[in-house]
Amino acid sequence: MYAWMFRHLPGPLWARILLTVVLLVLIVVALFGWVFPAIAPYMPFNDGLVGADTAGTAD
């Protein structure tokens, strides 16, 4: 799958390596900036509150 993607990137080898690195960085930025903050509330270790008002958050 990844080998297939790499073969289908345009340009010479150095350009394809550069493109791969850029794509990976963009993916990490998207994960850190949006995806992980969105799923973190559903993780079961982020809550230090007591009481019923924690029902809607991770617990």
Binding site: M1, Y2, V28, L31, F32, F36, I39, A40, P41, M43, P44, F45, N46, D47, G48, L49, V50, G51, A52, D53, T54, T57, A58, D59
Partner: protein, 246 residues
């Protein structure tokens, strides 16, 4: 036997091998995503929150004016001033806990994870007392991740000071006890801690945080009792004096 040693036709892997290859790559990707999530949760949230909290504290120093760090303010006898909590999710104070590695952090109104605890520091349970009031001034904070303001909560011993600073005053509390309770134990933040139906008679404070570390199965609770307050214009309270030198 002979057929096995002859070169086979090279049309790439068969469909089964290709499918197994793709599943393998997906599993590797999943592993990489989980590792990245851990890096984000355990490291990056701290980086972001530390930066945010430093900015908030610097902003408060500008707004409130500087405190004379050389002068020990006398403990005041009169009733403590009532702090202005400004409104939901707003930062209205700082907390100083000399026992903690990071001993100063912002205190905001409310315990919303997204609006307060994940970004600003500690949060005041909205329906609990205010600093200095009779009742139970209760504060929540993260013990891991997001700046982990209560990381060292388990190191607090009876007698250790917890100081709340507002625009006008320092409120000094002293730790009385530490407990580990279930997440449902709302009585720890009752006006009279541990006695949900009792009328409060003392000026108490309560900190709540996750327990054990990296889990939310239980809660670590610290109760403290009001000791005295000082006027911010007079300098720092004695409780903070020893730490300023180190």
């Amino acid at each position: 036997m002979a057929r096995r040693s002859t070169p086979t036709h090279r049309h790439g892997p068969g469909p089964l091998a290709a499918a197994i290859g793709i599943v393998g790559e997906l599993l590797l990707t999943l592993g990489a995503l989980l590792l990245l999530f851990l890096v984000w949760q355990l490291w990056w949230t701290d980086v972001v929150a530390d930066r945010e909290q430093s900015g908030i504290i610097a902003g408060l120093q500008d707004d409130w004016g500087s405190v004379d760090q050389e002068t020990i303010a006398p403990a005041q006898d009169g009733p403590p001033p009532r702090p202005d909590t400004l409104g939901e999710n707003r930062v209205w104070g700082t907390m100083h806990v000399p026992t903690f590695d990071r001993d100063t952090f912002p205190l905001a109104e409310g315990v919303s994870l997204e609006e307060v605890l994940n970004v600003k520091g500690a949060g005041h349970y909205p329906d609990t007392a205010l600093p200095g009031e009779v009742g139970n001034f209760s504060v929540a904070g993260h013990r891991n991740t997001y700046g982990r303001v209560f990381e060292d909560i388990a190191s607090l011993q009876p007698g250790d000071p917890i100081v709340v600073e507002t625009a006008d005053a320092f409120y000094v509390y002293e730790v009385t006890e530490s407990l580990i309770v279930d997440p449902s134990a709302v009585e720890v933040i009752a006006p009279a801690p541990g006695e949900p139906d009792a009328e409060p008679t003392e000026q108490m404070m309560t900190l709540t945080a996750c327990h054990p570390m990296y889990s939310a199965r239980e809660r670590y609770i610290v109760h403290a009792e009001f000791a005295y307050w000082t006027d911010r214009a007079d300098g720092i309270p004695e409780a903070l004096a020893t730490t300023e030198e180190t």
